[in-house]
């Protein structure tokens, strides 16, 4: 699974992209955030307050309880501030 990070989430994780293979019991977006938070101090800082992080599965917005399903590209980022 390809995981992308943007804005301050990327700053904290320390990379914009990585490929991960989470275990079978990581079933939802919330599960994945909790699992990623265990990968290191940068990840832990990025996901310290999961309520502040938004997610997209294959480039569509997804809520924390959404199943990961067959998503190949998962992105984490702060609430958007364009326009």
């Amino acid at each position: 699974m390809r995981v992308l990070y943007f804005a301050w989430v990327r700053d904290r994780v320390g990379t914009g992209e990585e490929t991960v293979e989470p275990p079978q019991d990581v079933a939802t977006v919330a599960d994945l955030m909790a699992w990623l938070a265990g990968r290191g101090p940068g990840h832990a800082a990025a996901f310290a307050d999961p309520g502040r992080v938004r997610c997209a599965l294959d480039q569509d917005y997804a809520t924390a309880d959404a199943p990961l399903g067959t998503a190949r590209e998962v992105a984490f980022f702060p609430p958007v501030t364009g326009g």
Binding site: Q59, Y61, T81, G82, G83
Partner: protein, 163 residues
Amino acid sequence: MIRVQAEPFDPGAEIAAFTDTSGRVGAVATFLGLVRDHQGAPGEDPARVQARIQTMTLEHYPGMTERQLRTLEDEARARWPALADVLVIHRHGRMAPGEPIVLVCAASAHRAAALDACAFLIDWLKTRAPFWKREDTAEGGRWVEARDSDDAAAARWTRPESD
């Protein structure tokens, strides 16, 4: 039409090119967003306005940005079938105060659809298009926080379930 680009654009030239002068279109509504030179929420006391912004950097999610903006255009056309045409240009990368960031144009035979669709497009874009602003000041850089007022502006376009 949707355009996401790093290059600056000329709002006057873009609006002129967008404007259908065949007689079919009677109204073109536009919104132009520019980089501000100061931080602070709308209505904040200017005396409290924080450090002057030297540059603004807009990061985005290539691919998803275009996808979300196309969905936005489709939604506007479905809500206002009278729309003749739509144009959204959004920049990314580094820019200076005063430079255009975003241009939204909506055209229709009569003004109501053009004005409403233009407001809808910018309100929804602000809460759905995956862009993030970072302001660079003399004190350093900081990511701009999302505003509740933007969510409220977008929410006014949410239709009741029974609609």
